[in-house]
């Protein structure tokens, strides 16, 4: 059995129909306890007080915002190389989720930044690259809507996705390239000495797993809709020609 079998829309629809209830349940049992743990039971931080509770939303949403674009890049490359419709429809399905997560990261960051940094916004490298990423998400979605021919739209949005990947990577590594910004380094690291204390780390990891599962569930759900929408368009075109 090969992964390319799932490029067949029928196989994809059958498999995901079986997976969906499990994914919804898994998302609920990770995301809800992760956020409840973080909000109700995590202690105050020495430097940030209770405002530390925002990391259970800010870090997972920022993580998804960047990685959603990376997923879209991989799916777009598969489309450009192998012309599998399901892959490019998955990229299209992921864009509104990435956009929402980028917006959540920007909003929670601004709300947190006001009391901590004394400003809602600064032209800091990470903040700026996130804003550019947000604009790329909007542009990607607008391009899909603007082009009538679905294959041409898939080609052009895939190219836009490759260009936007620079900003997705920049958002991730901006604090390494330009350490003079306001934004602190990554909250999670493989180096135990660098990342947040265990008492924040455990609910944070659970929240991130919840957000990842929410992303996967929504991408599959929305891709199923896009597969159906594509078939609907094809049938409508056939009807018009008949």
């Amino acid at each position: 059995m090969s992964i390319w079998e799932y490029a067949n829309p029928k196989k994809f629809m059958e498999t995901t129909a079986r997976l969906m209830p499990w994914l919804v349940a898994l998302t609920a049992v990770t995301l809800i306890p992760g956020l409840v743990w973080g909000y109700f039971f995590s202690p105050e931080a020495e430097n940030f007080g209770t405002s530390v509770k925002i990391i259970y939303l800010h870090v997972p949403s920022a993580f998804i915002a960047i990685n959603a674009w990376i997923m879209m890049l991989v799916a777009s490359l598969i489309w450009l190389v192998r012309r599998h419709h399901v892959s490019v429809l998955a990229a299209k399905a992921a864009a509104p989720i990435g956009l929402t997560m980028t917006l959540i990261a920007l909003i929670t960051g601004a709300i947190w930044g006001q009391p901590m940094w004394g400003t809602w916004w600064a032209w800091d490298p990470r903040l700026t690259s996130f804003l550019v990423l947000f604009i790329f998400y909007l542009g990607y979605m607008a391009l899909w809507e603007a082009i009538e021919n679905p294959d041409t739209a898939a080609d052009l949005t895939s190219i836009l996705c490759i260009v936007g990947s620079v900003f997705a990577l920049l958002s991730r590594y901006a604090t390494l390239f330009w350490p003079q910004g306001l934004h602190q380094d990554a909250s999670l690291s493989l180096d135990k000495a660098e990342h947040v204390a265990d008492v924040y780390h455990r609910p944070l990891v659970l929240s991130i797993i919840g957000f990842v599962l929410l992303f996967i569930t929504l991408v599959l759900y929305r891709t199923r809709t896009e597969v159906r929408a594509r078939r609907l368009k094809a049938l409508q075109a056939r009807e018009r020609m008949a």
């Binding site: 109700f40 209770t50 929402t100 759900y221 199923r224 159906r228 929408a229 049938l235």
Partner: protein, 68 residues
């Protein structure tokens, strides 16, 4: 049960409120579009099935009644 959020109460509540609202809107929008597309596709497929069906006598049941 409710944690004492101190001076950051507004900051935390508005962050959670805005984030959960955006996630709820995303889920709702995905669900509404899925339902609409599925309904239109079902209607279109039903229409095609009727169009494809081979045309038989206009009303076989009526004919049988007349025979009896």
């Amino acid at each position: 049960m409710m944690p004492d959020l101190g001076k950051y109460e507004t900051v935390i509540l508005s962050s959670y409120g805005a984030s959960l609202l955006l996630i709820a809107l995303l889920i709702l929008a995905s669900w509404i579009r899925a339902r609409r597309v599925q309904r239109e596709l079902s209607r279109m497929e039903e229409h095609r099935r009727h169009a494809k069906r081979p045309s038989g006598p206009p009303d076989a049941g009526a004919g049988a009644k007349e025979d009896s």
